[in-house]
Point group: C3
């Protein structure tokens, strides 16, 4: 072990299992290449929005309990190149312990696992796209569904359309796509869903590409909570790693022209 | 389950294990992108020829016994986009049960497995290339060989030539390719072949590319019956899934110029 | 089995397990596409240098003991297209026995495994790049390290730089890369290394791309002996298959401009 963490001004540091850090990075990279990251005594958190302002993670956070050890005395805000961090985790096995530290003096993010050490230049947070405002939403319908079903939905709808219609009958949640001639639809009843509370017959249309990107990193057995309304944004939430990682996702609807 | 099969005019329908339907689609796609498909009370059948007229499947059929259930009251002839059908089976696990139906009113082919439903527009059969006439052939030599050997032959001959010579000695069946300097040859004796009946010393030359495409979808332990003669087409047959799928393949020879 | 080896003037022949021959071919192909190959009663040997003269294998040899059988009555020197040989071994399973023979009359290299036979034209040895002279080197520092660590080093340094600095402290062997802002370093102490004899604090800089190519074919658990000095070439050696394959590698340093 070198003295990677012995010099400089380390203002926040910790140790985390590689697969947990990788999952958090993969999630954010579905929408952005770089992100502001906030270290507090409760853990780390990011809030990002796609360049088009259509899709956002109001929060993607790792609580202190996600870490083997975690030390951030005050609030620390840095800018991280997520693509570079992803590359530097590329040799890690899922159960490798990754040690990291924020050096504010040299403006470096440092990580180390096995015999591998990396120093990555921080990005000036002011040069990163501003964090999104989250609208207040009152969405009537609520579904809990395993991510595997969402993956099925997006990959099949992708064959016929660029848009996804989220809707329901009285007793089924329906995700569908309509092409010029062909149609794909996935229907989930009370047995398929963990919860299915659809008091209103509503529908909203969304861009498929964001949903493909957002669903891809979610492990297949993760239960995703989905709220939606009538031509309203959809709001998703899920937890991972014994609820030590929490993700919220919001996607604006496409206006239906018919 | 939605009412995918409850409306429209369903004139033929059935349930089949995904890997069986996929195998049949893969087979046809070796030569064509779309096909006429005939539903009769005995099962489904297609007969296709390559655009160049060089290679054909005189028949590729799934008997009624290949299906979990099958209902085609009269003869129904439809045109199917095989590439699209292949894509729509892409999420199926090999043991998923695929329900399908032909809706002649809406001119749709419908499939459903797990929570996934697809409606695919049928193609006008008259817009599809005509089915081939099969010549009468009297081919003297007969060999039965596992597809794994044929795959070895095509992938190795591919390294030296675009053509395949099929020939034999008194006690060996030989598949070979001759390049400008290099040569590849595969020799199969009575131990390698299930049957080896080669009364005549004959040879025929074929385009490698068709054989590569035709061999690719055949499971490696499938026994393929091969008939060939002297500068004659070669005729292959094989059965799959307890003989509920039957395939015949004919490839015209290349004229040897020496 | 055909009479592939019964005609022609076979001046050297043998039988070898496919994975051993493949390993030897993969090794040489890291630097060159074709090679002179020397058959002696002790085995086969090649000595090659990269087109740029920067990296060489002073020797990559398979001793007679690497073969199931080996017969080379006198010294035979041939030119072999390694890329073509690699392709022709492509269908071999690792434990297939590969029979080979050098036919000096037809100027062919012949190989056979399972039912597969190949004749490959030999290359005129005079048309192949001359074999390298190996300089005498007196390198002070010596390390033994598993190839897995070298693979980690090259893939991580590749993220930040085109150059690799090989250096050490009193008790650690260090491989590192320095980019414009980012840095990657791998440090190996006495526990990581099989042997660590670094009497001098020295360093040399090397082109990463050669090291990536050279490390890639080495099985991950292979112990590699590394000698290096101060702005001197580095000299690597390793053995495989119970020391029946022996490889020496030398890489010239890049001159450091600071």
């Amino acid at each position: 072990m070198s003295d990677l963490f012995d010099d400089g001004e380390i203002v926040a540091e910790g140790i985390i299992q590689a697969d947990i850090l990788q999952q958090w990075v993969d999630t954010l990279r579905a929408l952005v290449h770089e992100s502001k990251v906030h270290f507090t005594d409760g853990g780390i958190r990011a809030s990002v929005v796609s360049p088009s302002n259509v899709c956002m993670y109001p929060t993607a956070e790792l609580s202190k309990q996600a870490f083997e050890s975690f030390d951030a005395p005050g609030e620390v805000n840095i800018g991280v190149n997520l693509d570079a961090l992803d590359e530097r985790l590329g040799s890690a096995n899922s159960d490798d312990l990754v040690r990291f530290g924020v050096d504010m003096e040299k403006r470096m993010f440092r990580i180390q696992y096995r015999q591998i050490e990396h120093e990555m230049a921080l990005i000036d947070p002011d040069a990163i796209r501003q964090e999104p405002d989250t609208p207040d939403l009152d969405l009537p319908n609520y579904v809990e569904l395993e991510a595997e079903y969402l993956d099925d939905a997006m990959s099949n709808i992708d064959l016929v359309s660029d848009h996804v219609r989220v809707t329901n009958t009285d007793d089924e949640f329906v995700i569908e796509g309509q092409g010029d001639t062909d149609r794909a639809a996935l229907s989930f009843d009370g047995d398929d869903c963990r919860r299915l509370e659809v008091p209103e017959d509503v529908e909203s249309l969304f861009s498929l590409s964001f949903l493909v990107d957002v669903v891809k990193p979610i492990p297949s057995d993760t239960v995703v909570s989905i709220r939606y309304g009538d031509e309203f944004p959809t709001w998703w939430e899920y937890d991972l790693f014994d609820e030590t990682m929490h993700v919220e996702m919001m996607l604006a609807p496409r206006i239906q022209s018919d």
